[in-house]
């Protein structure tokens, strides 16, 4: 191995690591706020990727229909959960979020899809279609369980993952898709050849992290989310609607998942079930980072990306094994250092 190969592998690892970092961030966020280990996060990557690829090809993506179905189900679930204490503003708000919003997005998609409106509009439309699914799923699957133990929430999340994979097959079909890169520019720096897509990934990841940081540090909603993460009961006592916090956390996770999907679909072929493996790497990073620390998760994600890139050079047949086994020594070290984790409450 010479320095050129070293540099290329590092660059490759960092680009992949950036995607894993985004996913790890949203996993940590959702876990902190709602205690759900969001296994279905990966599905949003696949949904985002496939929706963008369909829009790019000028077709109406299957996810629009899925959004409509989820909207109706979310509305029914919301009405059922609030039965007995329904008032006009609450119902109107629920209808707005579960029926009107998906309908508006669907109409926009139906009008815009055949026009091939260009990369920016397609990306925004993809995010608009996929992001609302995540809070809708929170309403349907997790809100009724909000006070259940972590294990029950995990099992619900696994069930959700399996359901979403199946729905992915129904709405997107079995074939994989790939979309062209946002730009064909390639920057050559010495032996390094940096494709435009890598710059987009790096830039958007950095921008998103900065935005998240500002959101949590500066805005009232962000502070409310942090408060919920620190202590749900306490947050509720001081008047923070913790259910809202859950919805917002899931919406952020859906947004980040969809964006990651849009970013990787020019790099690889994405199938309806590809999201899980990508999400799993984000999960590995989140675990290595301790499932509680945002900078820890980002660093771990970059590490996972670089480890993956180097193991694909040295021992490509064992790449997956190497990446996923890395989690074992970290877990050992953590449990030796901190003792067994206890369930709070």
């Amino acid at each position: 191995m010479d320095s050129t190969i070293l540099a290329i592998l590092l660059q490759d690892g960092v680009v992949n690591g950036a995607i894993y970092a985004l996913l790890a961030l949203s996993l940590v966020l959702v876990f902190a706020v709602t205690r759900v280990i969001y296994v279905a996060q990966g599905e949003f990557v696949a949904y985002g990727a496939l929706t963008y690829a369909a829009l790019d090809g000028g077709h109406l993506p299957g996810s629009v229909a899925l959004l409509g179905v989820l909207g109706l189900a979310g509305c029914a679930a919301g009405l059922w959960q609030a039965r007995g204490r329904l008032d006009r503003p609450a119902v109107l708000r629920l209808l707005g979020e579960t029926i009107v919003l998906p309908a508006v997005i669907a109409v926009a998609a139906i009008i815009l899809a055949p026009m091939k409106p260009g990369v920016l509009v397609e990306v925004l439309l993809t995010l608009a279609i996929v992001t609302p699914m995540s809070p809708l799923l929170y309403r349907i699957a997790f809100q009724p369980l909000a006070d259940a133990p972590v294990l029950v929430l995990l099992i619900a999340a696994v069930a959700l993952h399996l359901t979403l994979t199946g729905l992915g097959l129904v709405f997107f079909g079995p074939e994989g898709f790939r979309a062209p890169a946002f730009s064909d520019i390639t920057i050559t720096a010495g032996p390094l050849m940096i494709p435009g897509q890598a710059l987009w990934i790096g830039g958007l990841t950095f921008a998103l992290m900065t935005a998240l940081f500002a959101f949590f540090e500066r805005s009232l909603t962000g502070k409310a989310l942090r408060a919920t993460a620190v202590n749900r009961l306490g947050a509720r006592l001081v008047g923070i609607p913790t259910e809202r916090a859950g919805l917002i956390a899931f919406a952020l996770a859906g947004f980040i998942g969809a964006l990651s999907g849009v970013l990787i679909v020019p790099l690889t072929t994405v199938y309806y079930d590809s999201g899980f493996m990508i999400g799993l790497r984000g999960f590995t990073a989140a675990i290595i980072g301790g499932l509680g620390s945002y900078p820890g998760a980002v660093l771990a994600a970059l590490l996972v990306g670089v480890a993956e890139s180097f193991s694909s050079f040295w021992a490509s047949a064992f790449k997956e094994v190497i990446v996923f086994t890395a989690i074992i020594p970290v877990l050992l070290w953590r449990s030796l250092r901190h003792g067994p984790a206890e369930e709070e409450e």
């Binding site: 190969i5 079995p174 994989g176 898709f177 690889t268 072929t269 890139s309 694909s312 047949a317």
Partner: protein, 387 residues
């Protein structure tokens, strides 16, 4: 429950017919189909399921009823489906399944129940070495060895001495690695790098750097479907200028769409159905393959045909060809009829299918020869038959 009763209309007709309804029902030939319409092999299973819908409901004057179950490429489910089809559905023959591991698991059930089965997956291990259990098992796709030999011969003729191999990190890649290593040594070609990648990988830069460092005359990429385009795109990006070979796993139009100009000039072996229209008229496969393509596209849209669906059609051709002789052995639903089906399938000579011409023997339950593969290249975004 993914149960499709295609012959529902035919049965109703049989029940309402003037003759005694019970005899009409007893004469129905029941075909059990288990394929992977969901899961990782769904891109194989879906065109296969669509093909089953096109099959005739009358063969040799008998009503044929198809029951399709999905196994999600899971061996356990495939075996459970097969038992269900045989015990509850009283199937006379089993068509399926789409993947090799699941097909291998089904062999014992076929032998136990003495019901013939026709697999639609590629590995030669399904029918070789021939033994008491595999007597009941037939396989319609070409053996990997046939395809590997074709590639190695083409490489040798093109003056290739060194090859870098990159394949899927699963049964497909491993099978190809083994077959190609053998075929390459037969043709005095040395393999200078052997790498693996996984279907959802977003980057193969590490593997590609290692392959380029070995300076091969050609690379062989053993992947199926559109993910096989990724190593080729990365090799291009990194400035590799040698020859590219792919396997028949990429022979569908999605690969062309995804690969774009980076896959121009790639050489691969494929079933003749892929370039049916370019075959000479003297080739009997041409008419068969074009007929299937027309039927498939009439219901599923222009350009929708995939070579994988052709395997399901071939399985049905083999079954249909065996029915007349089998009827002489016994009535449908009887053990004699099932044994008769098996014997009649084994006795097929020069049976024209969409993927080749099969001559079965007691030892060879695939029966394909060189006529079952053509060398194809990609030219201007389309498949082109090589002479």
């Amino acid at each position: 429950m993914n149960r499709i009763r295609l012959a529902a209309a035919a049965i109703t007709f049989g029940l309402a017919g003037p003759a005694c309804p019970s005899t009409a029902l007893a004469d129905t030939i029941r075909v059990g189909v288990t394929i992977s319409t969901t899961g990782p092999a769904a891109s194989l299973g879906v065109p296969q399921r669509n093909t089953i819908a096109l099959l005739p409901t009358q063969i040799a004057g008998q009503t044929v009823e198809y029951t399709v179950l999905d196994d999600g490429a899971d061996s356990t489910r495939a075996v459970a489906n097969m038992r269900k089809l045989i015990e509850e559905g009283k199937a006379d023959i089993i068509l399926g399944t789409s993947t090799t591991p699941a097909s291998l698991a089904m062999i014992t059930v076929a032998a136990e129940a003495k019901v013939p089965m026709v697999s639609m997956s590629a590995s030669a291990a399904i029918i070789a070495p021939m033994d008491a259990a595999r007597r009941w098992v037939f396989k319609v796709p070409q053996n990997d060895s046939l395809m590997a030999d074709a590639i190695a011969t083409h490489m040798a003729a093109a003056g290739v001495k060194t090859v870098a191999f990159i394949g899927f990190n699963d049964a497909y890649g491993d099978g190809w690695s083994k077959e190609f290593t053998r075929a390459a040594s037969d043709n005095k070609i040395s393999i200078v790098a052997s790498e693996r990648f996984a279907r959802p990988d977003t980057s193969v830069t590490g593997q590609v750097l290692k392959m380029i460092a070995a300076k091969p005359d050609a690379v062989l990429i053993a992947g199926s479907g559109t993910p096989a385009a990724l190593p080729q795109k990365t090799l291009h990006e990194r400035g590799y200028t040698g020859k590219y070979y792919q396997t028949h796993g990429v022979a569908n139009n999605d690969f062309l769409r995804v690969g774009g100009k980076d896959v121009e000039g790639t050489v691969l072996p494929a079933g003749p159905i892929l370039v049916a229209a370019q075959l000479p008229d003297s080739n009997p496969i041409k008419a068969k393959a074009l007929d299937y393509t027309a039927k498939y596209e009439a219901t599923n849209g222009v350009g929708s045909v995939a070579t994988f669906g052709g395997h399901a059609y071939d399985a049905a051709i083999l079954f249909a060809a065996a029915v007349p002789d089998a009827l002489k052995s016994g009535k449908p639903g009887s053990p004699e009829f099932r044994a008769g089906l098996r014997d009649a399938m084994e006795a097929q000579k020069n049976l024209v299918m969409t993927h080749g011409i099969a001559t079965m023997t007691a030892e060879n339950h695939n029966g394909f020869d060189e006529r079952a593969r053509v060398m194809v290249t990609i030219q201007n975004g389309a498949w082109k038959l090589l002479p």
